[in-house]
């Protein structure tokens, strides 16, 4: 992997190629700056851009629309409060919002002990196909809405071996650590670490040209 991406050693500006970056739209970071000054319209614009993506991940993690509603509201409210602390050099607005939303969702699931349900769900699917990410059925019409991004992600996910995809999904959507994944799947810890690492590296390579933009 390291050999496959030597450019990582030089300064890299990462921008997520969301629809927000299409010409004529105000850059995400400008919206965050406006939000930091108390501009509600900037918040509304960010919600319009990232709301569906964040709602999708919240729904996938929490499993219920009422919970997803609260998670997304909380996430954007936190972004509103913390807008002045956003630092572009640490990552894109999309990554920042995703991190907030995912943390909120995982916290909620943990606090309500929904993990048990998730375990049962995963176990009932155990041995068969792991839940699909990227081209699996989103909770509500996700495939249609994913459009081009969804197709590219699906293609990238298809490059992964099923166990790699499963390990990444357990980490991403259920917030499990290496050791928890190993316990869940009854696999050696080292095997899980390798699956997560190689899977993520493959995804990064596959999606780099589409989602990341390197600047010298």
């Amino acid at each position: 992997m390291r050999g496959a991406s030597p450019e990582i050693t030089r300064p890299l500006t990462i921008t997520m190629a969301t629809p927000s970056m299409s010409p004529g739209n105000e850059p995400d970071r400008r919206l965050v700056e406006r939000m930091a000054r108390g501009d509600e319209q900037a918040l509304a614009a960010l919600y319009d851009r990232f709301g569906p993506a964040l709602y999708g991940v919240a729904l996938r993690i929490a499993g219920e629309r009422a919970d997803a509603d609260e998670i997304v509201l909380d996430a954007f409210q936190q972004a509103w409060r913390d807008a002045a602390r956003f630092r572009e050099e640490r990552g894109s607005v999309g990554a920042w919002l995703t991190m907030i939303c995912r943390s909120r969702a995982l916290d909620l699931v943990r606090s309500r002990v929904r993990r048990e349900r998730a375990v049962n769900r995963a176990e009932s699917a155990g041995g068969g196909e792991p839940p699909a990410m990227g081209h699996g059925p989103a909770a509500t019409g996700g495939v249609a809405e994913a459009g081009e991004r969804g197709r590219v992600l699906a293609a990238a996910m298809d490059q992964l071996a099923a166990p790699q995809r499963q390990a990444i999904e357990l980490a991403f959507f259920e917030g499990l650590s290496h050791s928890e994944i190993a316990e869940r799947l009854r696999e050696p810890l080292g095997t899980i670490k390798t699956r997560v690492r190689l899977g993520m590296q493959k995804l990064r390579d596959a999606l780099r040209s589409y989602y990341f933009e390197a600047s010298p």
Partner: protein, 258 residues
């Protein structure tokens, strides 16, 4: 890059996913704090998280947007620069109110601190009790594992019958008994241990009862000196114990190494 760095870079994907824990996470974060390359690596994998999230969008309810805006409006703070400067008298009143509010706040905080102190003291005593209990357990365990301690198991026929382990510390001539699956004795009754000496009558010993879960533990039971113990028995007796058995033997065990 240091020699250790490649290993750390291998952990960046998992760190960005939140899949590291324990010592590995601490070590990675320590390295991350001083390595711009690692920071860049993590940032890139966090972008990948955003991509993964964006792969399955879903449509939120239409009113969610308005709920969000209503929420932030409710907590919106008007920038200080936009406020009109208050006139002097009003400023004085506000200042006085502010001082009063601060005093009340300080008083409230003082009470809160005192309440927290009390809570902490209570926790301390709970912890002390638990520590004492743990120490007791440790002493018991040490006594059981002591060289020269013999074990006799008292049983009775049946399917999953109750049992009692009698640990005898021969150098100190003391017993520890541990009962299991032994139902608590009826009200007004208790169990009594009998030491069975060679060529003599049963010697009354510890009276005890079991917990609801069928367990009982009794320690420091003295064995009379200058006797040869052939076995132990348990009977059910009045709660205060009896000088001689008044009921049939419930459990019996013969000492093998005496």
């Amino acid at each position: 890059m240091s020699d250790a760095m490649p290993d750390m870079r291998d952990l960046a994907p998992a760190y960005a996913l939140g899949a590291l824990d324990g010592e590995e996470k601490r070590a990675f974060e320590a390295a991350l704090a001083t390595s711009p390359e690692l920071q860049q690596e993590v940032a890139e994998y966090r972008e990948l998280n955003a991509v993964l999230a964006a792969g399955q969008p879903a449509t939120p309810a239409a009113e969610l947007r308005e709920r969000l805006l209503a929420r932030v409006r409710a907590e919106k703070v008007v920038p200080l620069a936009a406020r009109k400067s208050p006139t002097r008298p009003l400023f004085g009143i506000l200042l006085g109110l502010g001082v009063a509010a601060s005093t009340l706040l300080a008083l409230g905080l003082g009470l809160r601190v005192r309440s927290l102190d009390r809570a902490l003291a209570s926790r301390d005593s709970v912890i002390a009790l638990r520590e004492e209990k743990l120490s007791e357990r440790e002493r018991t365990l040490n006594a059981i594992l002591e060289p020269g301690t013999d074990l006799t198991v008292l049983t009775t026929p049946g399917d999953r019958p109750p049992g009692i382990q009698v640990f005898r510390d021969k150098p100190r001539n003391r017993l520890i008994i541990h009962a299991f699956r032994l139902a608590p004795a009826p009200t007004g009754q208790a169990y009594q241990l009998w030491i069975l000496p060679k060529g003599g009558n049963p010697i009354p010993s510890r009276v005890f009862n079991s917990e609801a879960d069928g367990h009982a533990l009794a320690e420091g039971i003295e064995v009379p000196p200058n006797i040869v113990v052939e076995g132990f028995a348990i009977t059910q007796e009045p709660a205060g114990g009896s000088p001689r058995p008044t009921s049939a033997i419930l459990l019996y065990g013969k000492v093998i190494t005496e």
